[in-house]
């Protein structure tokens, strides 16, 4: 057990936890005002539901010693998870750190189904998804499963978190179908400052996500920290120049998106590539996601907040480039294709494809099962009214005008004018 490692991991865990409400603001700013609370709550609810599911069962399926494909129930209800060392930090802290990853991965999917999914089925979906999709994939890569044995490189969760969520988002957007206004009306972000604020807080939290994945206050944490700083910076520069060349204007939503794409792409590579490799990776990652965004908007696929383009495509590019740019001189373990080990690129591709196949299939099945029990989509008038009022009974920007306080009086007197108004309409 190491005090410095424990201190850094305590801080990292709190940093990663902040990313989920930050994601809520990033997504919340991109939707219309009438759906903004619902969108933010989709992330906030994950903190509760996925967090509890993780402590009770999820952690065990991901990290208890089991088969090559799944953990075991031996850590269920946190049995045997105490203050003993797991690596150089307390086991309980390791479990908490991993919990924050499960939470944000489930919350990421919400971007594909905002403005139309009923909240109850959504809660059931993310909770079950974290158990049957996230936990096994986390086991494959980090719990000693088959991808770890194969030698796949995923420093902080490019495949486990981003490709996994991206594939699930694609399937969820297809199963739910497009919003009723999609492709018929311009659906504009209601608060771009929220989106920029969310992206900024995501970047801040991501230092815990990537540098924390060194699982200690080690030199590799400093490398991951450096890459987390400079790769998104490179993405932001390239994205800005592309915006400038294409339209002559640099957009704020584009800037916020670029930051997230750069962070996603550097996630699997953070502790494996050198700083210049990280810069190159961030710069290259801008292109596929930029064009994926433009292409998606022309299709009938209503992946509303472009989870597939940012996380699916960005994660895939990051995972593959990790297999190209990894350098033994920096990570002490493996070289990538650029440094004489082309086999690594193949291993990365296997990890990407396996994750996409597993996540897409199980997400589809899970949504179909939930749909058999309860309607996934809000009714059309509720979608028109907005999910804040129809699902939550709240408004993000309530004026307070016309709000009448309901007191617990036995029988409030009916307004005297009501019958008069009714007779005046002419139809009754």
């Amino acid at each position: 057990m190491n005090a410095a490692d424990t201190a850094w991991m305590l801080a990292s865990t709190a940093l990663v936890l902040l990313m989920t409400p930050a994601l809520g603001f990033f997504y919340g700013g991109l939707v219309r005002a009438k759906n903004s609370l619902n969108t933010i709550m989709m992330s906030v609810a994950a903190l509760g539901f996925v967090g509890v599911a993780w402590a009770l069962i999820g952690y065990s399926f991901a990290f208890a010693p089991g088969s090559r494909f799944l953990g075991a129930p031996s850590f269920a209800f946190l049995r045997g998870v105490g203050l003993e060392a797991q690596g150089t930090i307390p086991h309980l802290l390791f479990m908490c750190y991993q919990a924050t990853f499960a939470i944000i991965t489930a919350a990421l999917i919400s971007g594909a189904i905002v403005e139309r999914m009923r909240f109850g089925p959504y809660l059931a979906f993310i909770t079950l998804w974290s158990l049957i999709v996230y936990a096994p994939v986390a086991h494959w890569v980090w719990g000693g499963g088959w991808l770890a044995k194969l030698g796949a490189l995923d420093f902080a969760g490019g495949t486990v978190v981003h490709i996994n969520a991206g594939a699930a988002a694609l399937v969820a957007a297809m199963v739910l179908g497009p919003r009723k206004d999609y492709g018929r009306q311009a659906i504009l972000p209601h608060s771009v400052p929220f989106t920029v604020l969310g992206a900024s807080l995501l970047w801040f939290g991501w230092f815990g996500f990537n540098a924390g994945s060194a699982l200690g206050a080690r030199p590799s944490a400093a490398l991951a920290f450096t890459n987390t700083l400079f790769a998104p910076a490179a993405t932001l520069v390239v994205w800005t120049l592309m915006d400038l060349l294409r339209t002559g204007k640099v957009t704020a939503v584009g800037g916020a998106t670029a930051i997230v794409v750069g962070l996603v792409a550097v996630t699997p590579a953070a502790g494996f590539v050198g700083p210049l490799g990280g810069l190159a990776l961030g710069a290259l990652a801008a292109f596929p996601s930029y064009y994926a965004l433009l292409f998606r908007a022309r299709t009938r696929l209503d992946d509303s907040l472009d989870v597939v383009a940012a996380h699916g495509v960005g994660g895939t590019v990051g995972a593959l480039l990790t297999g190209v740019l990894a350098q033994k001189v920096w990570n002490g373990a493996t070289d990538g294709a650029l440094f004489g080990n082309p086999k690594q690129l193949g291993i990365q591709a296997v990890a990407v494809l396996a994750t996409i196949a597993y996540s897409a299939t199980l997400t589809w099945g899970l949504l179909k099962v939930i749909a058999a029990v309860a309607a996934l989509r809000a009714a059309v008038p509720d979608e028109g009214l907005g999910l804040d009022v129809s699902q939550h009974g709240e408004e993000a920007y309530a004026s307070g005008e016309g709000a009448i306080l309901i007191l617990d009086e036995p029988d409030p007197p009916a307004p005297a004018v009501a019958p008069v108004l009714r007779a005046e309409g002419g139809r009754s």
């Binding site: 206004d181 018929r184 009306q185 311009a186 008038p381 028109g384 009214l385 009022v389 009974g393 709240e394 408004e395 309530a398 004026s399 005008e401 016309g402 709000a403 009448i404 306080l405 309901i406 009714r422 309409g425």
Partner: protein, 121 residues
């Protein structure tokens, strides 16, 4: 000349504007208003406070038209703002005493006739 005033659902605005555009109605003003019709009130809760929202968000359109344009304008609104449930709104047609176009000083009929329509006529 008439002034057509329509109160509609905010989420129907785009479809109404589209419909008016196809009916070649140009020149209108919209405002966001709150009002109360026969709609069921919504109940919202903020912490322990439960409130009944008696006023619903609506959009008001004001369109000044010449007499022969009244029917197409009203038809366009009626067909595009309709959902069938309570709260779809109302259309009022009001007489107008006088209209001036500020830029040219034109009055009445000329003032509510769009430039391109006047040019082709």
């Amino acid at each position: 000349m008439k002034l057509v005033v329509a109160i509609i659902r905010p989420d129907m605005l785009t479809s109404v504007l589209e419909s008016l555009f196809h009916a070649e109605v140009r020149g209108l003003t919209i405002s966001r208003v709150q009002g109360h019709g026969g709609e069921m009130e919504r109940v919202e809760t903020y912490r322990g406070m439960t409130v009944k929202m008696d006023l619903s968000e609506k959009v008001r359109l004001e369109i000044g038209v010449s007499d022969h344009f009244v029917a197409p304008t009203v038809d366009a609104i009626l067909s595009s703002a309709h959902t069938g449930s309570v709260g779809d709104g109302k259309v009022f047609v009001l007489p107008v005493e006088k209209v001036y176009r500020i830029r040219t000083g034109e009055v009445d009929q000329d003032a509510v006739t769009p430039m391109e329509a006047a040019a082709t006529a």
